[in-house]
């Protein structure tokens, strides 16, 4: 599993209010419509210009703030193939995994990537290639990889219900 995409680079503490403003949380339910507002209060160009498999790169504490998973959903449906950051806020981390959106936590890489460049990520090997070189990152734990491979937590739950409970 690997992707190659153009980088959208941002700073530290990109919070859920700028990723997906609270005012839309009760008015928008269609993920495709959510995508139109992705990062609206941070970068008004993003939602208009982002392409499939583009990669968001950021600093520390990406996704901090509220638990709203629209923050992960809007980025996934905007086409984002992965997010690379120095660190993620924990609820955002969960939400992204649960949506089947892979995350790479790699301080060195995040600090060395520039906006607009093309980078390639191999999730199985734990390698990220960019202009400044190749960076290693620790692979995700087995249980988490299992959820990603099933396509997210709901397909994963469906599988468990089928196997364990015969539902």
């Amino acid at each position: 599993m690997s992707i190659k995409g153009k980088v959208w680079k941002y700073g530290d503490d990109v919070n859920t209010d700028v990723i997906f403003p609270g005012k839309y949380t009760y008015t928008i339910t269609d993920p495709k419509e959510m995508a139109l507002h992705a990062l609206e209060d941070l970068d008004s160009k993003f939602a208009k210009e982002v392409k499939k498999e583009d990669i968001v790169v950021a600093g520390r504490n990406f996704g901090c703030g509220s638990s709203r998973e629209q923050a992960a959903t809007c980025l996934k449906y905007a086409g984002v193939g992965a997010i690379v950051a120095k660190s993620f806020s924990r609820i955002f981390f969960r939400n992204a995994i649960n949506q089947g959106l892979p995350l790479v936590q790699c301080k060195e890489a995040a600090g060395n990537i520039s906006s607009g460049e093309l980078i390639e990520i191999n999730f199985e090997k734990g390698k990220l290639s960019c202009k400044k070189g190749v960076f290693d990152f620790p692979p995700l734990p087995e249980l988490v990889l299992g959820i990603l491979k099933d396509g997210g937590l709901i397909p994963h739950t469906k599988k468990i219900l089928k196997i364990e409970k015969g539902e």
């Binding site: 209010d17 009760y26 638990s67 709203r68 939400n95 739950t157």
Partner: protein, 420 residues
């Protein structure tokens, strides 16, 4: 080696042996809940998962509180989904308007979350219930859907930072000031993925209301949750409320902590967090004089009876500044009623304040007090991000009910000392 309270709670809720920090486990859940923003998506996913029923009808909560009472047609449709789902799946803890409160104030009050529990809420301020000695974590809608289906949640066993508070609190310094001060010391990601265990003589001397305020904002330092070991004050609070049996856990004296941070509170002044992060905190002496348009007293952080009593003490016999909107929102119906009985609501209205039925409303820029471009609010809520309470060019300053009340009177950020 000893264990922390969180390690003990998680050990009791998983089949994994010899639990270690960093392990990814599946934990059994004692209570799970969601609100009108997070539940509708979860309901859709729950149905997609193929589950025929929720894991336990008594252990699921649905609370329309964010845009409720319904702000408009769209929010009405969202809230309707909760009601219909509760009826269809016979969920016992659905709270209709009139019985509803802000979820993190309501659930402890109703004895639905208890010491020793694993609590999963589809809202970031679920950590509030950590004040009871529960392991309470905020998650997203998908997690909540999976928990409703399976009664378990995947999680990483977190490490714990222990905070020990000692010394004597100055007048007007509250739980809110302690947590704002603590966040300013460690930063908004200072406890990312970790548990903040609050302890020491100062915490032991605090009421449950103040403890809830402290645990509520652990998330603003990135923490997985906040927790306080149960004691006599906790048990006194639980008495007559608990709907089922529960288990008390305490940290062992030789438990391993990632870090121990000692804080002497004797010199801490009331705090104000400046825009646009809760870590941008200054003592009130450096914050005075900033003109405000609105003052909000309420929310899951500071909408409890103790908060309203402090606000009333300051507002009694005073008038809200002619250019300020003071909006007071008791967090639950019981708190509202108590405030009426104690004469607090009369004080607020006589002073020129507006009192609202329980709702999260303005805290997240929902309704009931939205800021226009360029406006400033002092607020007892928990976040001051860009655009949080309205226009992206508005500003939110976070503080205690005492400061919010004093500021409402003077029309600028002010210390309670200035009006008392």
């Amino acid at each position: 080696m000893g264990k922390t309270i969180v390690e003990k709670i998680l050990s009791a809720h998983t089949d994994t042996d010899n639990l270690r920090v960093g392990d990814i486990i599946k934990a059994r859940v004692d209570f799970a809940f969601a609100n009108d923003i997070t539940a509708p998506i979860a309901i859709k996913y729950f149905k997609e998962s193929g589950a025929r029923q929720v894991f336990d009808k008594k252990r699921v909560g649905l609370i329309p509180d964010h845009f409720a009472p319904n702000k408009d047609i769209k929010s009405a449709e969202q809230c309707k989904l909760l009601k219909e789902f509760a009826q269809e799946y016979e969920i016992e803890n659905y709270f209709e308007i009139g019985k509803m409160g802000v979820e993190h104030a309501l659930l402890p009050e109703k004895g639905l979350v208890l010491p020793g529990d694993v609590v999963v809420g589809a809202d970031s301020h679920t950590d509030t219930s950590g004040a009871l000695g529960a392991f309470a974590i905020g998650v997203g809608s998908t997690d909540f859907a999976a928990v409703m289906a399976l009664g378990e949640v995947w999680l990483k066993v977190p490490s714990t930072i222990k905070f020990i508070y000692s010394g004597k609190l100055k007048k007007w310094v509250s739980g809110k000031d302690l947590i704002l001060y603590t966040i300013s010391k460690i930063g908004v990601d200072g406890a990312n993925y970790k548990v903040m265990e609050f302890s020491g003589e100062v915490i032991k001397g605090l009421s449950m209301d103040s403890r809830f305020t402290i645990c509520n904002m652990a998330i603003e330092a990135g923490a997985k949750t906040g927790i306080i070991e149960p004691d006599e004050i906790t048990l006194e609070y639980i008495k007559g409320r608990a709907k089922r049996s529960f288990q008390i856990y305490n940290s062992d004296p030789d438990a391993h902590y990632e870090k121990i941070i000692e804080i002497n509170v004797s010199k801490i002044e009331p705090q104000v967090a400046f825009p646009h992060l809760p870590e941008n905190t200054k003592p009130i002496s450096e914050a005075k004089g900033i003109k405000i348009d609105q003052s909000i007293i309420g929310s899951c952080t500071n909408g409890r009876i103790e908060d309203l009593r402090i606000a009333a003490e300051i507002l009694k016999g005073q008038q809200v500044h002619s250019e300020v909107r003071l909006i007071i929102i008791p967090a639950t119906q019981d708190i509202y009623l108590q405030a009426i009985r104690e004469g607090l609501i009369e004080i607020f209205i006589t002073a020129g304040g507006a009192v609202s039925t329980p709702t999260c409303g303005p805290c997240l820029g929902g309704y009931m007090g939205i800021l226009a471009k360029g406006e400033r609010a002092i607020s007892t809520t928990n976040r001051n991000f860009v655009g949080r309470m309205g226009h992206p060019e508005s500003e939110v300053y976070l503080a205690s009910p005492a400061i919010a009340a004093a500021s409402a009177i003077l029309g600028r950020i002010a210390s309670p000392e200035e009006v008392k």
